[in-house]
């Protein structure tokens, strides 16, 4: 009961006794939302996290954040077609953040400085798991198992680890020393690596399944798809994969003056570039379209746009949305091919059909046709798992149907990304499930995904236009042998890029909500903010005006009904 004062004066800050929170019908909530770059990354990286650390110039912390999802950043920073950047909201503002350059710099910095993965010690009776195939999927799976405290054994058919990375990726895209450095660091991280150990040769799947509760298979796709035109093939047919692997391994290449490469994937483009650089006249023929804003993922060439562009720079002649209609043979040798315009058209059932357009035939005179129409799983040692299929049908965490404890990831699974980062992601997801299995903690309920945050949900007023840093490229005339083409970015450029990040759906501690709340209901704190923000809302006073949510630059604050 208040007692009347002379002249009805009042004491300071006594209004705190008046709880205006009761006025509220909508409640602001700090709610992290997946950024498009995050949800767009096949490896599952969340670039916002490490970009924030790079902005604060704490590179090692940023790298450690990065390798918590992807152990091979120096590699993926080079070879990934970075869908994160295609998804980046900033791309609809000025230009996407050069995330791959940040990733690459962190990876290179780690190699230079010799940083080690932050890993827990292995307990003596740690659970065990085996991984077959030391390609990107296998390496990732083994690494993540190790991170989770599982004793991982990694088997590889070849004497060295790396799989496709080592076998088929040209040095001008992925320098050997980078590849070696990251793989060595990974293998040295307490993983039991068994080279020259092939399924069906040294060991069988059955034996593995006897020894281990769980087995992860990452064999990749090692066998070129068979190719012919109306049942005919030239006698001197060389599949692109074979030629590439020879060139990558020994630098040798048969004498070819002119060729048609058939296919639109990475190996097709790499093949074409290698030949073009060797002085041949190279045509690349593909059903697919050139990647572009209004071209669907399904209809576009699988190769990274960057590599396609570089191939053109290097003289490769593209015939997109064309197919080989007829082989022109003299005897059993190719002297030319007849091309026809084609298009992938979506049908009502959603599937794609390839349609030829009669009367668009043209002839190319070449002395070689090199198919690069993709590969399939080499079934050796896995025949009874594969049966008639060319790939392994698995669920979203990589479990092979009807085979308890058996996981498949990377290119070998049906519907694979067909990219290194996709394989890395498969390995990580499988490792998590395997770990849960080993602890008997796996629950098969789908975790409901928060909706990815779109640019419309950001408050762009708070960001300034800033140009994207472009890395220097080796001019076409200087592109010889394995000389790396992409030059990467300098440290200060990378910091600038990190500062361009909108931090979509992730609190950047900008103080807007704290500064603009008319009711002093937002309290600034680091230690007491449980929700990943740097603030607490004092609901005793928040009137629910919604200013904080509207003015939050990164869409971190949601207004939810009090009644619900």
């Amino acid at each position: 009961m208040p007692v009347m004062t002379p002249g009805a004066f009042a004491y300071p800050a006594t209004a705190l006794a008046f709880k205006t929170g009761s006025w509220r019908t909508m409640r602001p909530l700090y709610q992290p939302r997946p950024a498009p770059c995050h949800s767009g990354c096949p490896a599952g990286e969340n670039p916002c996290d490490y970009l924030a650390q790079v902005a604060e110039e704490d590179f090692q912390a940023a790298w450690e954040t990065l390798v918590a999802t992807n152990p091979l950043p120096a590699i993926t920073g080079r070879v990934c077609d970075h869908p994160c950047e295609s998804a980046c909201n900033r791309g609809r503002f000025d230009a996407a953040i050069a995330i791959h350059n940040v990733e690459r710099l962190l990876g290179d910095e780690a190699i230079r400085a010799g940083w080690g993965y932050p890993l827990p010690p292995l307990v003596p009776d740690a659970p065990k798991a085996v991984v077959v195939g030391a390609g990107p999927a296998g390496l990732s799976c083994a690494y993540h198992l190790r991170r989770l405290g599982v004793q991982a054994t990694l088997m590889e058919r070849l004497p060295v680890a790396g799989g496709t990375l080592r076998m088929a990726l040209p040095g001008y895209r992925l320098p050997r020393e980078v590849l070696d450095a990251e793989i060595e660091r990974l293998l040295a991280a307490g993983i039991n690596f068994l080279p020259n150990t092939a399924l069906g040769r040294e060991v069988s799947v059955a034996e593995l399944r006897q020894e281990y509760d769980t087995v992860f298979l990452g064999p990749g796709r090692q066998r070129p798809r068979p190719w012919d035109v109306d049942g005919r093939t030239p006698s001197d047919l060389h599949p692109a994969l074979t030629l590439l692997q020879e060139w990558v391994a020994f630098g040798t290449m048969p004498e070819i003056r002119s060729a048609v490469i058939v296919g639109g994937g990475n190996s097709a483009v790499d093949m074409a570039r290698v030949l073009a650089r060797a002085g041949a006249r190279v045509h690349l023929v593909t059903h697919d379209a050139l990647p572009g804003p209004d071209v669907t993922r399904e209809a576009a060439m699988k190769a990274a746009p960057r590599d396609i562009r570089q191939a053109q720079e290097e003289g490769v002649i593209l015939h997109t949305e064309h197919g080989v209609h007829r082989l022109i043979l003299r005897g059993e040798k190719v002297v030319g091919v007849e091309l026809v315009r084609m298009k992938k058209l979506a049908r009502d059932n959603g599937r794609f059909d390839i349609v030829q357009f009669e009367g668009t035939e043209t002839v190319l005179h070449v002395d070689q046709v090199i198919p690069a129409v993709g590969q399939e799983v080499e079934p050796e040692g896995m025949e009874n798992l594969l049966g008639e299929q060319h790939f392994f049908p698995v669920d979203k965490v990589g479990r092979l149907a009807g085979q308890a404890g058996l996981f498949v990831g990377g290119d070998a699974r049906e519907g694979a990304w067909g990219t290194v980062s996709g394989a890395v992601g498969d390995g990580r997801r499988a490792a998590a499930v395997i770990h849960a299995h080993l602890l008997g903690e796996f629950h098969d309920e789908p975790e409901q995904e928060l909706q990815v945050i779109g640019i419309a949900e950001l408050n762009l007023h708070y960001f300034e236009q800033a140009p994207r840093a472009e890395e220097p490229l080796l001019p076409p005339e200087n592109r010889v042998g394995s000389a790396e083409i992409a030059g990467g970015l300098a440290t200060e450029q990378v910091i600038a890029e990190a500062n361009r990040c909108f931090s979509c759906g992730n609190c950047m501690a900008c103080d807007n909500c704290w500064t603009l709340c008319p009711d002093q209901a937002v309290l600034k704190t680091r230690e007491f903010a449980a929700d990943g923000s740097h603030y607490r809302i004092d609901y005793d006073y928040c009137k629910g005006c919604g200013l904080c949510a509207h003015e939050c630059p990164v869409g971190y604050i949601a207004m939810v009904s009090e009644s619900s």
Binding site: A15, T20, H461, F528
Partner: protein
């Protein structure tokens, strides 16, 4: 976290909350925000004279007060004089405490103008702050001489014969400038860094200084409470409310606008201008009139940014990680 420690957290905020929570302002009140930002910059060594108006009513419903600074509300019309008296007393006592005067546009442009003019003319060391929400909001949104042309209020309603207020918004700053005081400026709640900078300047100068802060009123302007900052920002970006600084009556600075927005973008968010978007010749004419007024501001104060000024309307409140703002 228990409420007790939440209270501790409030008591430990890294800023001076001269205006505390628990005040009874409407949701999204621009004036409440402006007052807190002002005191955040001034710190506790001030005394405040507050004119009758929303700010006074919603902060001090006996026995509660939201203020953490010595505060006096006398009347509607006399704030300039009350502040002058405080200043005279503190001067005689030899105490170095700045006197702040708070008033709305009614207490500044209209009923309080004479006392304000006298205070300025006599050179009292007072920072007079006008929270300009462009109408008499405290009594239920009646027009003031600060109400923009064509805005609808309860005493300048829109109807078949009228397009809201018939007269122009009084150019108070030019009148203030004619007193040749050391410092006068306009600010907006949409640009807190700039606002704080101007409060600081107004406090540092010896002698009278004046700050007019554009403070949206969701109730009176007819916009959502979450839009207060958005609306204030558009007022600046459209040229309707130029952010300028004067010293000794002479223009010394204007915040450039990098991307000038059409006045319609500002108006269409507000119910008080709804009638201007009717399919009607008079409405179109008044809309064009308001655009012309904004264009004239942009010309008079050279508001069009030629280069990316670090303090332009986009740069000044660009967010930085960790709450750093360019000031």
């Amino acid at each position: 976290m228990t409420p007790q420690t939440l209270h501790d957290l409030r008591m430990a905020q890294p800023r001076f909350q001269g205006l505390e929570a628990g005040h009874r302002a409407c949701q999204g009140c621009g004036q409440a925000l402006a007052a807190r930002l002002t005191l955040e910059e001034s710190g506790p060594d001030v005394v405040v004279a507050n004119a009758t108006g929303c700010l006074e009513v919603f902060t001090t419903a006996w026995p509660d007060s939201a203020w953490r600074v010595p505060w006096l509300h006398s009347l509607f019309a006399n704030t300039g004089a009350v502040a002058a008296g405080m200043e005279a007393a503190l001067k005689m006592q030899g105490r170095d405490i700045k006197v702040l005067a708070f008033a709305g546009d009614g207490g500044t442009f209209d009923i309080g103008f004479q006392a304000l003019s006298g205070m300025l003319e006599r050179g009292h060391n007072v920072l007079f702050i006008c929270y300009d929400n462009e109408a008499y909001m405290n009594t239920g949104v009646q027009r003031s001489s600060s109400t923009p042309h064509a805005a609808a209020t309860t005493t300048s309603p829109a109807g078949v014969a009228r397009m809201g207020k018939r007269h122009l918004k009084k150019d108070i700053l030019s009148i203030i400038a004619a007193h040749h005081i050391p410092y006068a400026a306009t600010a907006s709640v949409a640009y807190p860094a700039d606002l704080r900078k101007k409060v600081r300047r107004g406090i540092e100068v010896e002698g009278p200084s004046f700050l007019q802060i554009h403070s949206p009123c969701p109730l009176g302007w007819g916009h959502g409470s979450e839009l207060s900052i958005e609306v204030a920002r558009l007022a600046v970006q459209s040229g309707m409310f130029p952010l300028i600084e004067l010293e000794q009556g002479a223009l010394v600075g204007a915040m450039p606008i990098r991307q000038i927005r059409p006045v319609a973008d500002y108006l269409k968010l507000q119910g008080r201008f709804k009638h201007l978007f009717a399919d009607d010749a008079l409405a179109r004419e008044e809309l064009a009139h308001l655009q012309a007024l904004a264009d004239q501001n942009i010309e008079d104060y050279a508001l069009k940014a030629e280069t990316a000024d670090p303090l332009d309307t986009e740069g000044v409140d660009t967010v930085r990680r960790g709450g750093l703002r360019s000031t």
